[in-house]
Amino acid sequence: MPIPRRQYLHLAPTEVSTSRAWERGPHYNERMVTRRKLALLATAGIAAKVALAQAPPAPARAESDADFESARQQARNNFQAIARVKLPMTVEPVTTFKA
């Protein structure tokens, strides 16, 4: 049964995007693929692929993360401890070990 024009004007835009939508069941518009939806889906797909490519590989086990963090923290602590030693510019790295 046709919807009176007065009611028709109050419908949401999706509900009027196709003709005779009211005749095709309550979820017709959700199932139907429009050009706009296709464009959105395509963009989202590419974005998802880019996001996946940029994401770091998932760690095999949670324990590995802790191991890496422990190793990095240890290295940072070492660098800081060494940096506290005052080094005059004239001090060169050890190159000979003939004591």
Partner: protein, 480 residues
């Protein structure tokens, strides 16, 4: 000439060599007995990487032929020994203790293996080790292709590492001496934990040609023996200039106990805080007793402290940068994930990102360390005496990085000589660790550390200490 080898397994190399010359038993009999023992107990204590029985017996026959015509080649002739599995032996697997290298075979012998072969020493086996000498920083004793090194005094305890196999094999009487390597603590630690005598030579004194590299500027090879005197005999053979080792100091070593200075002419530095506070409470009485023995031998004593530097941080940074370069291909491949210890894998992978500036800073501070030790030894004391390790061997299941939640001990009142292991390695100093007592059935050791190329001085001190004690003569009861 059948002989009871049960005592011979724990004899010093000079005693065994004397018996061989007297024909109390043949080199073949001796070698077979040691090979049997190594093959029986080696796997039970995770000490054996690869038996070399066939080659050893062939070599022993040559030694017997030499001895029959009185062709003597020195005190190492006919002595069964083992090498840490980071030394190349032609045609035999050299695993570096790590699964990614389980099938690695070299077509040459390491130069020090050749030297020992020349004087008639008999290589009976390659001994286990911590994977890649532990350069990535391992958390558990099980970080090895062969499993955790089990302490001959208590199988539930660790042997120490990374020269775990050499420590266990000598401690359990599976060979008379062994060759280990040290980058920072890898000879001293297993020697202390297994109740044997280990010598870390001056950097550059012993050629590393044919040995796995972990850190070009820190790696050293040295003997693990029953006595200080044995260390002197082995060092004399393996030391010497080598054009094939860029780090070679171009110096030889002659073991000359006859020229040792009298104790009255020698000043030993020590820090009471090492024995009273850094040492684990249960070990303090034994360490103090050992200190008293040395004090009673006539040396002059002086209280000292180490120059103030972040030694541990420096060795870790240098090892990280150099080992990452050495093992870059492994680290960037999937093969590294085959290693046993997760923390060590993470350590190696992280080490690749060590900034050049951090490495160079550590190496510049190392210049200051070397200068400071020059002053320390030339104007202060002749050598220092410290506990080799301040604890007994840990349980094999305990984490080694202190993450096990052990209670924090109160901070000692001063620095003392704690940190002498990384400090001594940074400055290339020689050290000898000798057994000095037992705590709860587990051995502990003391170390003498001196200036570069003064090995004779610390060997003499170790020998004198062992003439007054019998800790080095104790033998463990092995479990089947």
């Amino acid at each position: 000439m059948a002989s009871d080898f049960s005592k011979i397994f724990f004899s010093s190399l000079t005693e065994i060599n004397a018996s061989l010359r007297k024909r109390e038993y043949s080199a073949v009999e001796l070698t077979k007995a040691f090979c049997d023992r190594l093959e029986e107990y080696g796997p039970k204590y995770n000490a054996l990487s690869h038996s070399m029985r066939k080659q050893a017996i062939k070599k022993a026959k040559d030694v017997d032929d030499d001895l029959k015509i009185d062709r003597t080649r020195g005190p190492l002739q006919g002595i069964p020994f083992g090498v840490k599995d980071l030394l190349a032996v032609k045609g035999h697997p050299t695993t570096w203790g790590a699964k990614p290298y389980a099938n690695q075979v070299f077509d040459y012998d390491a130069n020090i293996v050749k030297k020992l072969n020349k004087v008639g020493a008999i290589l009976i086996g390659k001994l286990s080790m911590v994977e890649l000498a532990g350069g990535g920083g391992y958390r558990f004793a099980s970080a090895s292709l062969t499993g955790p090194g089990l302490n001959p005094w208590d199988k539930s305890r660790w042997s120490g590492g990374s020269s775990s196999g050499p420590g266990v094999a000598v401690g359990a009487g599976l060979c008379t001496f062994a060759l280990g390597s040290e980058t920072s603590g890898s000879i001293i630690t297993p020697s202390a934990y297994c109740g044997v005598t280990g010598l870390r030579p001056t950097y550059g004194l012993v050629s590393r040609q044919g040995a796995m590299a972990l850190s070009w500027t820190l790696d050293k090879l040295g003997p693990i023996c029953r006595t200080a005197e044995d260390c002197g005999h082995v060092l004399q053979v393996i030391a010497g200039a080598d054009a094939d080792d860029p780090g070679s100091a171009g110096k030889s070593f002659f073991y000359t106990p006859q020229f040792a200075r009298k104790p009255q002419d020698v000043t030993i530095g020590y820090a009471p805080v090492d024995f009273e506070e850094y040492a684990e409470p249960a070990t303090r009485a034994a360490f103090k007793a050992a200190l008293d023995v040395v004090k009673s031998q006539g040396y002059k004593f002086k209280e000292v402290e180490l120059p103030d530097f972040p030694y541990g941080a420096m060795t870790s940074t240098i090892i990280a940068a150099e080992s990452a370069s050495i093992f870059e291909d492994l680290i960037k491949s999937d093969k590294i994930d085959e290693m046993a210890d997760k923390r060590q894998i993470a350590g190696f992978k992280t080490a690749v990102d060590t900034p050049a500036i951090e490495y160079l800073r550590a190496m510049r501070v190392r210049t200051l360390v070397q200068n400071a030790f020059h002053d320390f030894f030339y104007h202060n004391v002749d050598m220092v005496l410290v506990p080799s390790r301040t604890t007994v061997a840990s349980k094999i299941t305990d984490p080694l990085d202190g993450s096990g939640g052990a209670a924090q001990a109160p901070r000692p009142r001063s620095r003392g000589l704690s940190g002498i292991i990384p400090a001594g390695n940074l400055a290339g100093l020689p050290a000898i660790s000798a057994p000095c007592g037992f705590v709860d059935g587990l051995p502990i050791g003391i170390s003498f550390v001196t200036k570069p190329f003064f090995e004779n001085q610390i060997i003499a001190a170790g020998k004198l200490f062992q003439s007054a004690t019998d800790w080095h003569k104790r033998t463990p009861k092995l479990e089947g």
